[in-house]
């Protein structure tokens, strides 16, 4: 069976059903066993005719990026869709409304903007929807009907997906959508002559495991619930808000609480309070909110109280670009705060890792009594994938607090020195386990004290935790050749996807390109890093920020120059971007 790898975009105004039709398309495509990587773009305006794009890449192969160039563009709104032509393939297909509604700008028909070689199919979305349902709201379904007719998709199965999507709605809504869909399907079958060569009937072989369609934020929320989260405290902020909204539904079912706080300071304060009281708690935010949490981050480390913060990065600095993706909070996550502040930083590279990274975060925070930052980004938060049902945390991961035993409780010393740096922590309600913790430097019993010897000893203990934990976290993922590497890519976070794909292509072209990417970006596993670098002739660090934050950081561990690929276009990194950099490096 030949490989299928197609990018489809649906573009329209807010309110035209762009995103929901994308969702239905994804559901169907997933049900016929394609790999999906999907991504929605919303307007920053709340109302009005802002541009929405539902972008879906689906493939019979494993994919890691949403794909840079589009094969099929469905233009629900011509004026908005024109700019999408910029990344339509030379022989790409445009499906557009041949008789658009009056409120669309007349002089902006997409056909006039298309390059020669591109293929267009005009379908009267508006008229057909009117005919099917008496109003034009089903335009998006007409378009999906046409897609089924044009590309050989099983329209009966697709219809069932639509019915399932609207199952909770009134019958009239289901009927209108289905009728519009069928109208579009029949019209396209009767009136269109296929001149492109795209078709997608069936994906790869049926997967044994149950698969779910989920985005990064949903994966984090699901992992938090599975990790027995008790308190979520947060303040709404794009692109993290969805985590809060999901948990507000899910936590009450588990007797947990979603607390909407007055600001991010209160959110993280509540997280530490619940952590102190022995329950798992978390908050999720983005750049501006993360900045406000800095002081409490220090307290978490100093007072040795678990805290989990998700920072879904937007473009920065300051309020920045709330709906654009960037990886520019690396410095803030790793170094943010005052004083010597050891913490864990987890940077998932994919939706799957969003789940695994979150369960790991709760485990580490509780076991090592400290702060864990999870770095997502706008793209990862919103990128939709169909993944295998993830593996829930083990019993060991769920109960990771090291509590004092009876003997230790006879004369309890809360911050007793240990080899691992972790002192047994008693939970309120435990008789004879009373202690006071503080943000002041303190002795083994928690009493504030400032002498230099003590401060040295306690700093050492706090840092010792990181070393102890290195054996407790997954090792960095090394893909590609193990020896004689032409270009070794050190990758982190969501741009790792582009690195994987680029490396795969480069290796097919006869080069030797490997990728090292770590779920836990801080502390650094220096053994693997050094080994990887020693095997690599050249090193490349691609990341979505201007100053090369990760490259600068890595430079302090490896004593050699690295090539950088920095982009701040607000878009996720594409494999083409990394590939051209690799070619350039190998050629030089």
């Amino acid at each position: 069976m030949s490989n299928t790898d197609i990018v489809l975009e649906i573009c329209g105004s807010a309110g035209e059903g762009t995103i929901s039709s994308g969702e239905i398309f994804n559901r169907y495509i997933s049900s016929i066993d394609f790999e999906i990587m999907s991504f929605d773009t919303y307007p920053s305006e709340i109302r009005g005719f802002g541009k929405c794009v539902a972008h879906s890449r689906f493939s019979t192969q494993k994919i890691f990026t949403p794909g840079k160039y589009t094969d099929i563009l469905i233009a629900l709104n011509d004026a908005h869709s024109i700019s999408q032509l910029g990344h339509l393939k030379d022989t790409g297909v445009v499906i557009y409304d041949s008789k658009p509604p009056k409120y669309h700008e007349e002089d902006k028909s997409i056909v006039g903007w298309m390059e020669p070689g591109m293929i267009s199919y005009g379908i009267p979305f508006n008229d057909l929807a009117q005919k099917a349902a008496g109003n034009s709201r089903g335009r998006n379904m007409v378009a999906l009907g046409a897609v089924c007719a044009l590309f050989g998709v099983d329209h009966e199965e697709f219809k069932n997906t639509i019915i399932q999507r609207y199952a909770k709605k009134k019958q009239i809504v289901i009927d209108n959508n289905v009728n519009s869909f069928v109208e579009g399907y029949n019209w396209a079958n009767d009136n269109l002559t296929k001149i492109d060569s795209i078709s997608f009937k069936k994906g790869k072989n049926k997967n044994e495991k149950e698969s779910i369609i989920i985005n990064g934020n949903q994966a984090v929320a699901k992992a938090a619930i599975d990790s027995e989260l008790h308190l979520y405290a947060g303040y709404p902020i794009t692109p993290a808000t969805k985590i809060m909204e999901i948990l507000s539904h899910e936590l009450p079912k588990k007797n947990g609480i979603m607390l909407q706080t007055e600001d991010e300071i209160s959110a993280i304060g509540n997280v530490l309070g619940a952590g102190f009281a022995g329950k798992r708690s978390m908050t999720a935010t983005s750049g501006p909110g993360f900045a406000l949490m800095t002081e409490f981050m220090g307290l978490s480390v100093m007072a040795q109280i678990p805290a989990v913060i998700v920072n879904s990065q937007r473009g920065g600095p300051s309020t920045g670009l709330p709906t654009k993706t960037e990886q520019s909070d690396f410095n803030a996550a790793v170094n943010g705060g005052t004083g010597d502040l050891p913490r864990f930083v987890i940077a998932p590279a994919s939706v799957e890792e969003c789940y695994d990274g979150t369960t790991l975060a709760f485990y580490l925070a509780e076991k090592y009594q400290t702060l864990v930052v999870i770095l997502l980004d706008f793209f990862l938060s919103n990128s939709i994938r169909n993944i295998d049902e993830p593996t829930p945390p083990t019993e060991k991961m769920l109960n990771s607090n090291i509590a004092p035993n009876e003997k230790e409780l006879k004369d309890y010393v809360r911050f007793k020195e240990t080899k691992t740096g972790v002192s047994p922590r008693s939970i309120p309600g435990t008789p004879n386990g009373m202690y006071t913790t503080t943000g002041l430097e303190n002795n083994e019993r928690g009493k504030p004290q400032y002498d230099g010897k003590l401060h040295t000893k306690m700093s050492d203990m706090r840092y010792r935790k990181l070393n102890s934990a290195l054996n407790d976290v997954p090792k960095p993922k090394w893909t590609g050749p193990k020896k004689d590497i032409d270009v070794g890519i050190l990758s982190w976070g969501s741009s790792a996807g582009a690195a994987y794909e680029a490396a795969t292509i480069a290796n097919k072209n006869g080069h030797r390109v490997a990728v090292l990417s770590s779920l836990v970006v801080f502390p650094v596993n220096e053994v693997d890093l050094t080994k990887f670098c020693n095997e690599s002739k050249q090193i490349l660090i691609p990341e979505l920020n201007y100053s090369g934050q990760y490259a600068n950081f890595i430079a302090s561990y490896i004593n050699r120059p690295v090539e950088r690929l920095n982009m701040v276009s607000g878009l996720p990194m594409a494999s083409e971007d990394v590939l051209s950099k690799i070619d350039e490096m190998i050629a030089s």
Partner: protein, 278 residues
């Protein structure tokens, strides 16, 4: 020392043992200045816990930064000395995590009338079941005598040598406006009344706000001194209807410093009780 003093100290020590409140204290000696009102407040809190039969391990205390912030260090309970102004959110998290615990937030005037002032309206309207003890000495003591948000207008302080240009906040009026369901004021020099108020506040199901007047014997020799406070405080009269918000607001605005329970509302469910109804 003369015999009278020795006898007096002996009597006090007997009293201490009888009241059995040393069990809530660690061996740590408080760092507060001799004569500070915080000793009396601490005694009252300890006495209230004792009279309410609270177990040490079931008490959680979150404090802010400042002289009052040190409170949990001297207490044999689960204590968390947090950040400046942030005792309230931390206490809130403790309660939301473990409803069975008794949770206190300890704050100074700098904490909750200044830097952490933004938390007060929200803890009040959420009605989370914690008790906030505001140790109000109307000055920044730990940083040595700068104006706070409750320092009287025109008082000279180390940050305002030509007189404080700012009007003071009125903690009780604010708490009443924010919808706190239990609002009281106590005076550090009146341990019996203070203890009675604290006990009511601790047992109130919902957010309790207790404003405690206390002098700073080191940095305020002019306004809120022991002498002036004693002359200015007055217990709220017995017949006072503490379910009447308008009346509470009226006496809170008086220049005379009333002490006692201003307002006690029973019909608003605590945050967690509300969630349970849903």
């Amino acid at each position: 020392m003369d015999n009278f003093k020795i006898n007096y100290i002996d009597e006090m020590l007997d009293d201490v043992e009888k009241k059995d409140f040393l069990k809530y204290r660690t061996g740590e000696l408080p760092t507060w200045c001799p004569g500070c009102g915080y000793f009396g407040i601490t005694q009252s809190i300890v006495q209230s816990c004792n009279e309410l039969n609270l177990k040490n391990e079931d008490i959680c205390v979150a404090s802010g930064i400042g002289c009052a912030g040190r409170f949990p260090v001297f207490m044999d309970v689960y204590g968390f000395h947090t950040l400046h102004g942030r005792s309230v959110p931390v206490a809130s998290g403790m309660k939301l995590a473990r409803e069975e615990l008794t949770v206190f937030a300890i704050a100074g005037d700098g904490d909750i009338m200044g830097i952490g002032g933004g938390h007060l309206p929200h803890i009040a309207r959420k009605n989370i079941d914690i008790t906030l003890f505001l140790f109000d000495n109307s000055i920044y003591g730990l940083t040595k005598g700068q104006s706070s948000s409750t320092t009287p207008f025109e008082q000279t302080t180390n940050s305002h040598p030509f007189g404080n240009p700012d009007q003071p906040l009125k903690p009780v009026s604010l708490a009443l406006s924010y919808g706190a369901t239990f609002v009281a004021r106590a005076f550090a020099g009146n341990v019996d009344q203070m203890t009675a108020i604290f006990k009511k506040g601790i047992t109130h199901k919902g957010f309790s706000f207790i404003h405690i007047l206390t002098p700073c014997v080191t940095f305020d020799k002019v306004n809120y001194t022991w002498k002036n406070l004693k002359a200015n405080v007055e217990e709220i009269y017995d017949e006072f209807d503490h379910t009447n918000h308008t009346e509470a607001m009226r006496i809170a605005e008086k220049s005379r410093l009333y002490t006692g329970i201003f307002y006690h509302r029973y019909d608003v469910p605590s945050y967690q009780d509300y969630l349970k109804q849903k």
